[in-house]
């Protein structure tokens, strides 16, 4: 069994403010490399004071375009998140699953706005 790795966004970003998409990208690259190497990963948000959807979309949401939902569920954990941040991450994850699962949804959204048919 591969060794479990802990990745700290605070350490990667160098700040308690995990708000920028570019910083989320750096965390994504660390998680991706660890998962590619077969290591289970825990992302520890200890000492992080602020999170945004932009950061989490890049750091976590983007994993669903690279790994299967089953693999992510089996190998990725998060720790030290406050309740409201767990809720934010849950929304990001649900949105990411839908984003990568349903490529036609944009057309559906467009049809809904236009109130018309597929034609």
């Amino acid at each position: 069994m591969s060794k479990e790795l802990t990745i700290s966004p605070f350490e990667v970003v160098g700040s308690p403010l995990c708000v920028a998409s570019d910083d989320g990208q750096k965390v994504f690259e660390r998680i991706q490399a660890a998962l590619d190497a077969g290591h289970p990963v825990t992302v520890s948000f200890k000492n992080v004071t602020s999170l945004t959807s932009a950061f989490l979309n890049a750091a976590i949401g983007q994993l669903y375009g690279r790994f299967s939902e089953k693999d992510i569920k089996a190998k990725l954990k998060v720790a030290h998140l406050a309740q409201e941040d767990l809720a934010l991450l849950k929304r990001v994850v649900d949105t990411a699953k839908a984003y990568f699962k349903d490529p036609d949804r944009f057309r559906q959204a467009e049809r809904a706005v236009l109130g018309g048919s597929d034609a």
Partner: protein, 290 residues
């Protein structure tokens, strides 16, 4: 060339006045532009973000901007928040700490922006006494606005922000303006949808709609803001291109403006008297996420 500026409040009339200024000089180059503020008896300080963005845009075309006849009350507030220091005035100390200073950022300045919000708002004793949960949500909301501008606007001229606490109204308003392509063009370029400017804003704030493409998903920033202000009893206001959109007390209203703003302005107004804890009705655990 002289433009008479009337009262500027964060409402449609205030925006019409500012976009009128932009419309008048949008094609001017290397012109002296005098903004006559002799009839401006009130200026909501958070509106410095769109005002400053417009003046910066006109300045980038080689125009020389001067603000004249400023009334003492208005001059005091625009000096305290640092706005007039961009136009040659000396800075004035903000004794009561009700302003979040006017600043311009580049798109790569996420961390400067984060430090600005932290230092100019969160750590200031004079700011409204809000619960820790409300403070956190406010802070994250303004980061969401900034992130939206960075991710979507394609601005090359920067991002402008400013905030103001209104103690008598129990409101805190914070505005972020960018000089980017606007929501209508963004939606058209990424989805092919041809919508009016206000319909495009409405589209971008709904459900799972997003203009994001590529490996990083998106489409949550404006929804999170909308959810937050709805619960808080606050307001979100978006002006983009020639569209005006607002969400207040759970009700959305949107309509066209008479001319274009050269980008997008998002203003979040929070109710500082809100004592909600923002806890969730159903508790999540770390094993529920993936």
């Amino acid at each position: 060339m002289k433009y008479p500026l009337t009262d500027i409040r964060h409402n449609p009339t205030g925006f019409e006045t500012l976009i009128g200024l932009y419309a008048k000089y949008a094609s001017s180059k290397f012109t002296k532009i005098e903004v006559d503020m002799g009839h401006t008896t009130w200026f909501d300080a958070d509106m410095c973000a769109p005002f400053g963005a417009i003046l910066y845009c006109l300045g980038a075309q080689g125009n020389r901007i001067s603000l004249t006849q400023i009334r003492p009350d208005v001059e005091r507030i625009l000096t305290k928040n640092g706005f007039l220091t961009h136009y040659g005035r000396a800075a004035l100390r903000d004794t009561y700490g009700t302003t979040i200073p006017y600043q311009r950022f580049d798109v790569k300045d996420d961390r400067y922006f984060a430090a600005y919000v932290e230092n100019k708002f969160v750590r200031r004793m004079e700011m409204p006494k809000m619960s820790a949960a409300l403070t956190k949500r406010f802070r994250e909301s303004v980061f969401e606005i900034f992130s939206n501008a960075v991710l979507h606007s394609q601005t090359t001229l920067g991002i402008f922000s400013c905030g103001q606490f209104f103690p008598k109204r129990n409101t805190l308003d914070f505005s972020v303006a960018d000089l980017g392509i606007g929501i209508r063009r963004n939606v058209k370029e990424h989805t092919g949808l041809v919508l009016s400017p206000d319909e495009a804003i409405d589209w971008a704030t709904q459900g799972r709609n997003t203009t994001k493409r590529g490996p990083i998903p998106g489409g949550l920033g404006l929804k999170l803001l909308s959810d937050f202000v709805s619960k808080n009893g606050g307001r979100i206001q978006i002006v983009s291109d020639a569209g005006y959109w607002t969400l207040e007390k759970g009700k959305v209203d949107h309509f066209p403006l008479s001319a274009e703003f050269p980008g997008t302005v998002v203003t979040v107004e929070i109710n500082t008297a809100d004592k909600q804890s923002y806890s969730l009705s159903s508790e999540l655990t770390e094993s529920d996420i993936f």
